[in-house]
Subunit: 361 residues, 2 copies
């Protein structure tokens, strides 16, 4: 288990270090968080770090996060998604997580849907439909919370009563872009907002690009829906490819500028997908290293306790299952909690989604 | 060289045998056309053949063809496109060719563009644009003369002052569909109409399907522009794949029924292409077995005689070249003849198209 001192050190590092700093990653691998922090601040190249460290108060940061319903999830902790370890020395020092579900369990069955900010009506329709179908199949849709395809993907998942994760390039208390405050708030309630940046942090160009590596590493694969030739969504796809995740693209009219990036991706070896069934066929087939679709439950039913146990007992054993609203009544828990626990139980192989309903496996 | 008797026997066979009859193909390989004809008509299974043979007059057929500006091109003749030999025992007994250009030379640098009859405005636009760009790069566009994508491809090539080949499932004197009489007439003038069926023959479902194997075998690759899941264009693509030709598809909106067949093709290993440059990159790279893009001319300049020589002498030696109209004036020949000779000289590596102009290589 992580000690309080280690957590405080990682909270400090998340304020001092820019995402993707591999020099710090090397130190962390060799010396752990406290020693890394000490060396950074005292070292010859430490002036920049010391300037950023002034006035930081990691205990206060953790307190503010707690008040917001957020927490810092660190490598080695049970909630840490171990697939992020594939990032090596570029692994985040920690992730600020807002929402009540388990990041690790949700991320086990997750897929990224990303694309152009300035998307077309076609892209919007395709991304929302794809995300809704993925949610219907109990997959967690991960995206970046941006305008355009990202928003369509989050909205599609939410509309299908699915769970979605927004990976931000700013603090999880920041609603960026501001036009998405309602959407991001709803993601935090029905899913999770996560970021390696501390509360209050603002996005920068570099942070957007580094954020993409987290989206790529967290998920089994990345689907690009619309992207011009130099779109940021393609950087997520490249990261996914480099991490041996699946790279998928939805084609579009060759007469549209927003198809060019996707088609270039497909010509370079990405997999062409036209609907969620084709996505699931690909991402369901891999992932024994992450979490295979379990033939049976991954842990005994008796090991499930607390809220998750109440939800599990509310789910019908097979048959056509029951809709979320009925499970909410039976379990006597808020609907967002029930939904998150259902997705967690799903990733453990204990329940499954069947159309709009849930049933035990 | 083919004897007159052999030509007459093949003309008879083209009237008696349905396209793709491999039993007859086996006999032809073993015994040649005269002996094959004799065995077919006298054999135990000959009743059907004899019924069809009654009243046939191969000499009259050849005469009528000549009057129409058509001829029968047979295996082993200089004008025979030897890539059709890849069809083995399903090789046509001969091809009726209408138009003055050399089928063999035009087919050396040819690519098929096929697709749905009931295409969308998108497909129409894409097929016409692709064919025009291919013509601009001095590639011969081959298609089936049908409504929809086929017509758009032929029209695009013609509009770009290119040469195009229509492969018909009926006699080359038949304008089928009748709404295409003007288009097919223009193809015969500016390019070639070809068919393995004799004059007067009407299309049938089986003839359409067998026609597709000729399109596939004649060309270096087949591009499918729009196709529903059970489209005939996909049968051309399958034939092309079986013949180790390139199979290409232009993607479209996943929300369109007419994209489903193309996307299925691409998911099964077809190459995604979005413009003519990408098509040329693929088909230009292969084809050493058919006819490689020659580094230098394939035959000495002095060997070019007759009309071709007059056209060659009219073409500027390099520079930005000259448009067809100027070459027509210089050569003193009809424009369709000049165009066909230019394409032939192009396939021999003696001239090349540069934008809308032609120049010597």
């Amino acid at each position: 288990m992580l000690t309080d001192t280690e957590r405080l050190a990682r909270a400090s590092l998340s304020r001092i270090v820019e995402p993707g700093d591999t020099d710090v990653g090397v130190l962390l691998e060799q010396h752990g968080p406290q020693e890394t922090l000490a060396r950074m601040l005292s070292g010859p190249a430490g002036e920049g770090y010391r300037a950023r460290a002034r006035g930081t108060d990691p205990a206060a940061d953790l307190g503010h996060a707690h008040a917001l319903g957020a927490r810092l999830v660190c490598p080695g902790e049970p909630e840490w998604p171990t697939q992020l370890d594939d990032l090596g020395t570029a692994r985040p020092v920690g992730l600020w997580v807002r929402g009540t579900a388990s990041l690790r369990l949700l991320a086990l069955r997750s897929v990224a849907v990303v694309g152009a900010r300035a998307c077309t009506a076609y892209g919007n329709q395709v991304a929302a439909g794809l995300a809704a179908e993925l949610a219907d199949a109990a997959w967690v849709v991960v995206s970046g919370g941006a305008y355009g395809i990202d928003a369509a993907a989050h909205r599609g998942a939410l509309a299908a009563t699915g769970v979605t994760i927004g990976v931000l390039a700013c603090g999880v208390d920041q609603y960026y872009p501001s036009g998405h405050s309602a959407l991001l708030g709803r993601i935090a309630e029905q899913g999770l907002l996560i970021s390696e940046l501390p509360l209050g942090a603002h996005p920068t160009r570099s942070r957007f690009l580094q954020r993409n590596r987290v989206i790529a590493a967290l998920t089994r694969g990345t689907v690009v829906v619309e992207a011009a030739r130099r779109s940021g969504a393609l950087s997520t796809a490249r990261r996914a490819r480099d991490l041996n995740r699946l790279v998928m693209g939805v084609p579009g009219p060759v007469t549209s500028e927003l198809s060019t990036g996707v088609h270039a991706l497909l010509r370079a070896g990405g997999s062409l997908v036209t609907d969620a069934a084709e996505v699931v066929e690909l991402i369901g087939a891999i992932g024994t290293d992450l979490a295979a679709e379990p033939a049976g439950p991954m842990l005994p039913r008796d090991a499930v306790v607390g809220e998750a146990r109440r939800v599990l007992e509310a789910v019908p054993p097979g048959g056509t299952g029951a809709p979320v609203e009925r499970l909410v009544r039976r379990a006597g828990l808020p609907s967002d909690i029930v939904l998150q626990r259902l997705y967690e139980l799903g990733s453990l192989g204990l329940v499954e989604r069947h159309g709009g309903n849930w049933r035990q496996r």
